[in-house]
């Protein structure tokens, strides 16, 4: 399978990338690691006229602790997050989740920014950023804006980013000492989650339990009022409407959400 013809543009600065997408709008697509975009292009689900390769922008590849926050450049690869010493110390849950995206080959190319902007409800990092109350920093023709994770994931593959905007950074609060857990149930190795859960302190976010990653408010409230892991996890599927399809019925996914949440809460020390 070969993508439809397009014009490849490699850029060497964020400003240059913004200039190219400003010129082409919806006809252009940013290419980061390509691990979601190129498969879609090969299937002709995406047919951009111009592909803007931002992978060379090393200035967007970093993890830094800054005061009470960790700043992560959008082009930081999953493999680098998985092995990052700053994350290991201040947000181990993020390192762990990054290590479960696809396989080693995919993690060597794929970036956190690409995963968040792709906004697949079955993806792992969006749920982690939602659990961490992360903030996404985007740059566009009118300058920079910050979008809270809770407002960023709007639907399957849907975010408020415009074609003319580039995600530059993700910021999460440091998690020093907070318990964490991550559970993901897959049908095969390297796969997306049938269902999954990320626990970070008192926050619980579910993977693939609706059109976006979802917080589990009933579970979080129960935890806050001192419920046990089992009691809180029993409420995890409340209000969710997961997909009902060949690999898993909605009912089965809700069952998984409860079981996985209890395991993740126990791992988090609740």
């Amino acid at each position: 399978m070969i993508p439809a013809a397009f014009t490849y543009r490699r850029v060497s600065s964020v400003d240059e990338a913004l200039a190219v997408v400003a010129e082409h709008g919806d006809d252009a697509k940013l290419l980061a690691g390509g691990q979601s975009l190129l498969p879609l292009m090969k299937l002709r689900f995406a047919v951009p006229e111009v592909v803007v390769d931002i992978a060379p922008l090393d200035e967007l590849r970093y993890v830094r602790a800054e005061g009470g926050e960790i700043a992560i450049g959008a082009l930081t690869r999953h493999h680098d997050l998985h092995h990052d010493p700053v994350l290991a110390e201040h947000a181990p849950v993020l390192a762990r989740v990054a290590g479960s995206v696809g396989d080693q080959q995919i993690r060597h190319r794929g970036t956190i920014g690409g995963s968040l902007v792709h906004a697949d409800p079955a993806a792992d990092l969006p749920a982690a950023i939602l659990a961490l109350d992360g903030v996404l920093v985007a740059r566009g023709p009118d300058g920079e804006r910050r979008i809270r994770a809770a407002e960023f994931f709007q639907g399957p593959f849907e975010t408020p980013l415009a074609a003319e905007e580039l995600l530059t950074e993700v910021r999460v609060p440091v998690q020093d000492g907070a318990g964490w857990g991550f559970e993901k149930f897959t049908r095969r190795a390297l796969d997306w989650a049938i269902a999954g859960v990320v626990v970070a302190g008192g926050a619980v976010a579910l993977i693939n339990m609706g059109g976006t990653p979802l917080r589990a408010p009933a579970t979080e409230a129960a935890l806050a009022s001192g419920a046990s892991a089992a009691e809180a996890a029993a409420l995890a599927a409340e209000g969710t409407s997961p997909a009902d399809e060949a690999h898993a019925t909605a009912e089965y996914r809700q069952h998984l959400a409860r079981v996985l949440t209890e395991r993740a809460l126990v791992a988090a020390g609740r």
Binding site: M1, F6, T7, R10, P39, D103
Partner: protein, 156 residues
């Protein structure tokens, strides 16, 4: 566009369509056919090569993205003595292949795995090769081959 990629230490230059995939450049331009296309959907790992030393699925990288970078394919592997690379030798000794279709990708993924973790556990080998499918061997001998190449005990 014109791309120039260092493949196994030799610079290969060619005029390609912008949409050309790295795997096609390696096979058709460079004439190196150990790198296989299996699934074409980023799932099977038969097309795995090293790009700047890290394993990638070359069916999901544009040749244009590799322009100016270094690629290593199975043909570029050598042992210290100039003969077979320890992983090539170990796949042979442990009967880690049958039809051999997946083997180049398995070996390239294993090179990357051992570079990050020189003495993996059996489970770490399995996790490290989760992106590589084999339809013949049942994986057991492949895990043995990687254990052998890393100087560890194998399971008979």
């Amino acid at each position: 566009m014109k791309v120039s990629i260092e493949i196994n230490g030799r610079t290969v230059t060619g005029e390609v369509e912008d949409r050309t995939l790295l795997v096609h450049f390696v096979r058709e331009r460079a004439g190196l056919t150990a790198t296989n296309v299996g699934c074409d959907t980023t799932s099977c790992g038969a097309c795995t090569v090293l790009l700047d030393g890290e394993s990638v699925k070359s069916c999901t990288v544009l040749a244009a993205q590799a322009d100016g970078h270094a690629v290593t394919t199975l043909e570029g592997l050598r042992g210290d003595d100039g003969g077979l690379h320890p992983l090539q030798r170990a796949f042979r000794e442990e009967h880690g292949l049958q039809c051999g279709f997946c083997t180049p990708g398995m070996i390239m993924a294993s090179v990357s795995l051992l570079a990050h973790n020189p003495r993996p556990t059996r489970q770490q080998v399995r996790d490290g090769l989760e992106g590589n499918l084999c339809r013949c061997t049942g994986y057991h001998n492949i895990v043995n081959a990687v254990m052998n190449a890393s100087g560890q005990e194998v399971q008979r």
